[in-house]
């Protein structure tokens, strides 16, 4: 099975189109203003998908089986509370009796009626996505009757789905968010395509030789090594105990990247890097974290307003060493050399820090692989978001040159291995 940017781009359009249709239908149904939020294609290991679910919030889902142009499963997952809120809105509309509501008129439990209302909502959303894909692919996808699922862990949702990836398997996952403008009801959508059906779709959509799917393992290993190196160097330099919280490989349209960044003033360090691959690397901290880091790195009391010269140079120094660690991690896996520029300091609205990079890459490419990483510290403010955005053609070349057998030999640390693998 091989994939290329053209095929992934089509997949991306499918997900985006589907999210738009689903949002439109949700609006139609509930009279609540909605919009399609960020759409991503993720490459995730099975255990990471499961870890996503282990945030102890109760969830409900509506699952359908697909046959036709895509075989597999499509699952809409709401946080339980959000699902109840949507159902509440729906039932208000139809002015039903309020058996399931408490004194405040709020729903607490799913009874038969609310369950069927939730299933209906989920099903209409699922169908929105699927119609969107069918439109893009100009084909027909058949959908089974919907199944309502309620639970706390991934097992309830995915364990009887044969297509759901095992702990070590890398799956291509479609993730979309739909937000209601005022009430902030989001949900996630997951598609688990059957491998063979996916392979034949990719075959149809591919416009170039592309990359062997198995080489994506190299991607994942790059992301893993890069993130670990950063956490390690950050700890060494600041004395703050840090660890990797999120590490994800996304395939997105370039303009999505600034939209993901928090809409607040951030402190960042940016680099361009050159080699195989070349691209851009950004470390973004919220202001509080940046201040903690400066306190940790600059031993004396600094009398500066905002981020003065002393603070800036501390942040730049940290960024510089983290960048070296990150890119060395990549270079090790890819067996290449990657050099990086001197650090550029920025203190501005998040999106404004990212758009110059997106614009520069946008001259040549429409989509990008983004290595999203979040580093956090226990009991202390140290939130660092890392965006590594390589030049697409360089990355394809680097991956093609990669010897898959070698990946297995590249040593890794235990960071991600002790995560519950169910």
């Amino acid at each position: 099975m091989k994939l290329d940017v053209n095929a992934l781009g089509t997949f991306y359009r499918m997900a985006r189109e589907g999210a738009g249709l689903a949002a439109g239908r949700l609006t139609h149904m509930t009279d609540v203003e909605t919009r399609a939020g960020v759409t991503k294609l993720n490459f995730m290991r099975g255990r990471e998908i499961r870890r996503d679910f282990e945030d102890s919030t109760a969830k409900v889902g509506v699952r359908v089986e697909l046959t036709g142009a895509i075989d597999g499963y499509s699952v809409i997952v709401f946080e339980r509370e959000n699902a109840l809120r949507i159902v509440e809105t729906l039932l208000e509309e139809s002015a039903t009796d309020a058996d399931a509501t408490n004194d405040d008129g709020e729903l607490e439990e799913f009874d038969e009626m609310t369950k069927s209302a939730a299933t209906e909502v989920g099903n209409i959303m699922n169908n929105g996505f699927i119609d969107g894909w069918a439109d893009v692919l100009e084909t027909v996808i058949d959908v089974s009757t919907p199944e309502f699922i309620e639970g706390h862990s991934a097992e309830t949702f995915f364990d009887d789905v044969e297509e759901a990836p095992a702990g070590d398997d890398l799956a291509l996952l479609f993730q979309s968010q739909i937000e209601t403008i005022e009430t902030q009801v989001g949900f996630s959508h997951y598609l688990f395509p059957e491998r063979e059906s996916m392979a034949s779709l990719l075959e149809q959509l591919r416009a170039s030789d592309g990359i062997e799917y198995d080489k994506l393992d190299g991607f994942d290993r790059m992301a893993e090594r890069g993130a670990e190196e950063v956490a390690k160097t950050a700890t060494t330099l600041t004395g703050i105990d840090t660890s990797v919280e999120i590490r994800r490989l996304n395939f997105v349209s370039l303009e999505t990247i600034p939209e993901q960044v928090p809409d607040e003033r951030l402190v960042g360090v940016a680099f361009e890097f050159d080699g195989l691959p070349s691209g851009y690397l950004l470390f973004l901290f919220d202001e509080e974290s940046a201040n903690e880091i400066i306190d940790a790195m600059v031993p004396m009391e600094v009398d500066e307003d905002g981020f003065g010269q002393m603070g800036q140079s501390a942040i730049k120094e940290l960024g510089n060493i983290m960048a070296s660690g990150f890119l060395d991690g990549w270079a090790n896996v890819l067996d290449t050399t990657i050099d990086h520029s001197t650090p550029e300091f920025i203190h501005d609205i998040g999106a404004a820090a990212v758009d110059p990079v997106v614009i520069q890459l946008g001259e040549e490419q429409e989509f990008a692989f983004v290595f999203d990483t979040v580093i956090v510290a226990d009991g202390q403010e140290f939130d660092c978001e890392i965006y590594a955005i390589p030049d697409e053609s360089d990355l394809e070349r680097a991956l093609n040159d990669l010897d898959v057998d070698r990946i297995e030999q590249a040593p890794t640390t235990a960071e991600f291995q002790n995560v519950t693998d169910s």
Binding site: G20, R35, E272, D305, G306, E344, A353, I359
Partner: protein, 173 residues
């Protein structure tokens, strides 16, 4: 990001995401967050109070394959699409005026050449000139990010940027 089911006259500003463009009229406000090297293009017809905002990221749409699908992504195609949609709604081409904001260059990377922001500014100005649309006000360049809010009815473009010491600067164009 597309918004579905937006009611006309709704008090919340309509968000114009990167690569998008929106045409509206009256007291509606159109908002774009966190422009770095992107350029916000605001066009309006003072007589009919019809106007639009585009959040463009690249200079040259004529050279790109997907500019039909995403006219708002490129300065040149965005200006033409805004004009067309405004005229369709009843604006008169000859009275349309333009305001621009954005196009900062925050990073001094070798690969950026003359600066990605500068290229966008030049493209937007050139297209306006080609189409004979007067540029009546602009807040361009520099190295700070901007958030803009545009009201087609009055033609007011509010530009907010933050200074290094954390204070906010608001410019009304």
């Amino acid at each position: 990001m597309k918004t579905y089911g937006t009611e006309p006259g709704a008090p919340t500003p309509v968000q114009v995401g990167i690569s998008e463009l929106t045409v509206s009229d009256g007291d509606d406000t159109l908002k774009s967050y966190g422009l770095g090297s992107c350029v916000a293009i605001a066009l309006y017809d003072p007589e009919t109070e019809i106007g639009g905002l585009a959040h463009t990221m690249l200079p040259d749409g004529d050279a790109a394959e997907n500019s039909d699908r995403k006219p708002g992504k490129y300065a040149d195609t965005a200006i033409r699409a805004l004009l067309r949609r405004m005229v369709e709604r009843g604006a008169s081409y000859t009275s349309v005026e333009a305001k621009l904001a954005g196009g900062s260059d925050m990073f001094d990377f070798d690969s950026f050449g003359d600066g990605v922001g500068q290229r966008n500014i030049a493209a937007a100005k050139a297209e306006l000139e080609k189409l004979g649309v007067p540029l009546v006000a602009a807040d361009l360049g520099g190295d700070r990010g901007r958030t803009v809010e545009f009201t087609p009815g009055t033609g007011t473009l509010m530009v907010k940027s933050s200074n290094e010491d954390g204070t906010q600067e608001v410019t009304e164009l």
